[in-house]
Amino acid sequence: MTAAQRINIGLSRVPAWPLYILGVIPPAWFLYQGLTGGLGAEPIKALEHKLGEFALQVLIVVLAVTPLRTWTGINLTKFRRALGLLTFFYVFLHLLVWLVLDVQILSQIWADIIKRPYITIGMVGFILMIPLAMTSNNRSLRKLGPKTWKRLHQLTYVTAILGAVHFVMLSKGFQIEPLVYLGIVIALVATRIKLPVRRAVA
């Protein structure tokens, strides 16, 4: 038995549902830090950035599931739905902090979404996640059929790229960290690109 098979057998005994509970801990911890001075002199931006960055990190894990299975045989697929929904939850909180704590002013929120390209891109990324979150359940999978469902969920690639671009666009000066995130996301999405396969001519 290979190491990957042993890992998969071990993982088969681990349920996915505790992720939904564990996943609440990081944002709760960030919020606690923000309320108690742990995020520094300006906790609003710090909380916003922490949530956004964490969402991107979890999304990268989601994108890594398939290549990990292809290359190492380790199968984390059963955790992917929970991680995907958590990503949506974190992005939603990130947006909420931006709306309620950061910008605060309704007219300015709308102006920002339209006028500021990095915010427009972030918003589009979030909106594209809504149908994914809504169909992340077995009923939708059955209703849509695996083919349609899979096509729909390929929007994840677009969302991930938009999220990473959003991060690159909001940084000042030449900063390496957001570019590293963008590079990782592009590399993971690139693993999905199938080289043209020769098909039998009808």
């Binding site: 309320l35 002013i105 102006a111 000042k172 030449f174 390496i176």
Partner: protein
Amino acid sequence: MAGRYKSDLKWSDVTPKGDYMNRRQLMAGAGALALGSIAGPAMASLGAKKTSYGRGLELNSFEDITSYNNFYEFGTGKDDPARNARGLTTDPWSIQVDGLVDRPGNYDLGDLTKGITLEERIYRFRCVEAWSMVVPWVGFELADLLARVGVQPSAKYVAFETLVRPEEMVGQRRPTLDWPYREGLTISEAMHPLTIMATGLYDEPMPNQNGAPIRLVVPWKYGFKSIKSIVRITLADKRPPISWQMANGREYGFFSNVNPTVDHPRWSQATERRIGGGLFAKRVPTLMFNGYEKEVAGLYAGMDLTVNF
């Protein structure tokens, strides 16, 4: 020329010194426990001249001012400078003065500022990122320093450069900006009584993360104009390049006066958030020229501020 400017922010309205000194002592105690010693010597009072002030705002705490900094030479995170600037050597320190001056040279900081009267200047500080503080700077007017070196009549601009020392300034090991950090003012801006060279804050020597040992403070401009840890001052007849304009000329202009009606391309400048208000701090309107319109608007008479941003 100490005392030319009367601030509308006043000492009696701000955090009582006893309060923040108590906090400092607590911090010093905690620091001593944690690190073994260092906090003591930094508490030396500069004995800056107190000036009479009018109606005022509330000062930010020493902790806020020294823990939330943009000083990319030490990293891009707001808490990076406080962590990474400890090892900066600020003594000896010399400043090269060159260009259109009568007495150019490489001056020791002590010689250049010998006998100069330090005064307290409580200023609003507005970052281009739409946050703000109120800081009790200690310093002297840039005009005093320029008078010492003798500005030639043909000089139209003053250019400044920050130290480049990647061994001590870890952020300079990355090309975040084209080092050295560069800034500049017109000669009339430089000579304005509000424009100071600051060597301390809260009556203590300038903390490293705030631009030790000497920095510029131009309170009606966005914070990045107030260049830190200055090692070169050049008088010129042509407008000098400045770092943020070099990095992104669409977003940052030479003047960079605080102006609520001219947005940064990526965010509005109409409002700002005062540091220190916690997680539920409300935004407040940004004031034209950061509240110094009365004093400085004349410098820009007839100028289109949306073009010369």
